[in-house]
Amino acid sequence: MTAPVLIFAIGNESRGDDALGPLLLRDIDNHLKNKDNYQDFELLEDFQLQIEHAMDMKDRQRVLFIDAGMDTPAPFSFYRAKATGEPVLYSHALAPQALLDVYAQVYGESPPDAYILCIKGESFELGESPTPTALNHQALALDFVKQLIDATCWDALATPS
């Protein structure tokens, strides 16, 4: 059976603060192992979002994308992802919002509720370890995700768009 909630971390652990998403996902996994509703969550990760990840969203109630960003407010931002229907420009990677557009086009239905947790990073160079400041942000993000796991309504915790 498909878990109703998908938590999808995006990032490359060999590129400094780009590792924040995968590292946080591991912490979330450890946290969920002690929870009764562990089976309600599926955790996935990849270097970057791609078109086929729309298929991972099928039959979910909610999707949480976790990413690291340079321009996001510290320590993190949490907001609802919305399909824009607007021009999608991308390289080999898609933004979460674009993935929602792809989902809608492929399945002919509205995508599940989707949210973005973007953790503020500082440096994304190859071979670097995550910066201490960013790891602090990640620790605060973990506390926040624990709230989300127990919450029934995520919109109340999201920054209005």
Partner: protein, 495 residues
């Protein structure tokens, strides 16, 4: 072969247009164009961030970590690096001949990679340009636009890519950071359940791949003037071919032909690649310019990737792809096809071949075998070469007696194609931009030429809001006259 437009005679008197970064390619690329006051082109350069950092990153690591670590070099073709590194490090553990199960599992993984990468590239990165036109409405010129107008095409692209990823998952052990291939062999074979799961869908994938070839072939036949001439330039070409001359993307020897299709070298052992290939440094680019030493720096540059491979081999071992190869060769005529848009046709032939190979391997009992590893006399240096989706990929390592990597040299496909991509953008600039007012649609012509090569310009990193396109027009006096910008969310702005 021309290197005109590489360096302008009087750059200080020209205005500069920069496409920075090039969109819909992996990583960060930048094109700079120098124009005079009548919009005549004097210089065009494609700049690409180099991969040098990766080599230093690997040094000092235990060799057995390398096949997993190198997957972090690229978010698009991690499997190519995984396999090239494994092949190179086979020599360190003395594995001269892999077991049949190991060889076929690696090949299965590789063809899964080719299938998913080619599907992504054609359906989702390039089909918007090909189906709607290079200077069509930018708001529709993307995959969502394709999904809206050609929903079946877009859906097939996604499902083909997803299938390729599933092949990788079952052969590499997991979706990312796979550990399936190790020095000396593999650490898993396919279970019966995994094999049967993939067999359920493979016939559909073969069928869709065949139709994809027909689709791009039809585009060529409908508009030969465009497809045969857009950015066309003559070039040498190189690829690995099987020992029997067949298209073999996993193993073989190096073969090169000149711009007329005549054989320049054949049967070259890739362990001797340093005798064959030199790498030139130019002061305006971070990326090196490989060349064939026998021809020298000026004339020795060459092209790699699907267009080279399909024309360089003698035949394709799978029947449907071979039919398509013959038709492709017949269309080209006596001379090789040099037009960059021909890459798409060749790419789809390779995708069909990959699907057929996956089908054949799934029906081979060795794929579920239990003999996974081989060892032999310990070595201290190894070279591994595969034909990655974008072209020839070379990994070269030296390892000390403590098992630590002391030297790493990588020549990736995009580096091989560096000069060729520069030539393509110069031709397009001459054909379409010369003497015209620069518009977004015209600049996209430049990007179409680059995307035909499917360059992977490094970096599996990304951060939200970090993918803008910015074009600057600067007057002869150095004052900025106008800018065109495109933000990561797709907003386009002219000032």
């Amino acid at each position: 072969m021309s290197v005109s437009l590489e360096t302008a005679a009087n750059p200080e008197n020209l205005r500069r247009v920069a496409i920075d970064p090039v969109s819909r390619v992996e990583g960060h690329g930048k094109v700079t164009i120098l124009l005079d006051d009548k919009n005549r082109i004097h210089q065009v350069r494609l700049h690409i961030v180099e991969f040098r950092g990766f080599e230093k990153f690997i040094q000092g690591r235990p060799y057995w970590e390398v096949p997993v670590m190198v997957q972090r070099l690229c978010g698009i073709c991690p499997v190519s690096h995984h396999l090239a590194a494994s092949k190179a490090l086979d020599a360190i553990v003395g594995a001269k001949h892999l077991t049949p199960t190991a060889d076929k599992m690696r090949r299965l993984m590789h063809y899964g990679q080719i299938l998913q990468s080619h599907a992504l590239h054609f359906f989702h990165l390039c089909s918007p340009d090909l189906l709607f036109g290079f200077d069509s409405d930018i708001s529709k010129r993307n995959i969502v636009g394709v999904a809206e107008k050609y929903p079946e095409t877009a859906k097939r692209g996604i499902l083909l890519r997803k299938f390729g990823q599933e092949v990788i998952r079952h052969t590499a052990g997991k979706r990312i950071h796979g550990t399936g291939s190790v020095p000396g062999g593999v650490n898993k074979s396919l279970s019966i359940a995994e094999r049967d799961e993939l067999l359920r869908d493979i016939y559909q994938m073969v069928s869709w791949s065949r139709e994809a070839v027909h689709m791009v072939k039809e585009l060529h036949h409908k508009n030969p003037e465009l497809y045969n001439s857009f950015g066309a330039f003559r070039a040498n070409y190189m690829s690995m071919v099987g020992y029997d001359g067949s298209l073999d993307l996993y193993h073989g020897r190096l073969r090169g032909r000149d711009e007329n299709g005549n054989m320049m070298f054949d049967g070259v052992d890739y362990n001797d690649y340093t005798d064959l290939i030199g790498e030139e440094v130019k002061n305006w680019s971070y990326m090196k310019f490989p060349y064939l030493k026998s021809l020298g720096k000026e004339k020795g540059w060459y092209r790699v990737g699907p267009l080279s491979r399909v024309q360089n081999c003698d035949f394709i071992s799978t029947p449907l792809a071979e039919i398509e190869r013959r038709e492709f060769m017949a269309y080209s005529g006596v001379m090789p096809m040099h037009a960059p848009l021909g890459y798409h046709w060749a790419r789809m032939i390779e995708m069909l071949h990959a699907a057929e190979m996956i089908k054949d391997l799934l029906h081979d009992d060795d794929i579920t075998g239990s003999e996974l590893m081989t060892t032999g006399e310990r070595g201290f240096e190894g070279v591994g070469v595969i034909e990655a989706p974008r072209g020839t990929l070379i990994h070269h390592y030296r390892v000390d007696e403590n098992d630590l990597v002391t030297m790493c040299n990588l020549i990736v496909s995009t580096t091989h194609n560096n000069q060729a991509m520069n030539e393509a953008v110069r031709r397009v600039a001459q054909q379409y931009l010369h003497g015209h007012e620069i518009t977004e649609g015209l600049l996209n012509h430049i990007e179409v030429a680059i995307r035909a090569f499917d360059p992977c310009l490094s970096c599996a990193t990304h951060a939200l809001g970090k993918m803008p396109l910015e074009v600057e027009v600067v007057g002869v006096d150095g004052i900025q006259l106008s800018t065109l910008s495109r933000s990561g969310d797709g907003t386009f702005c002219a000032q």
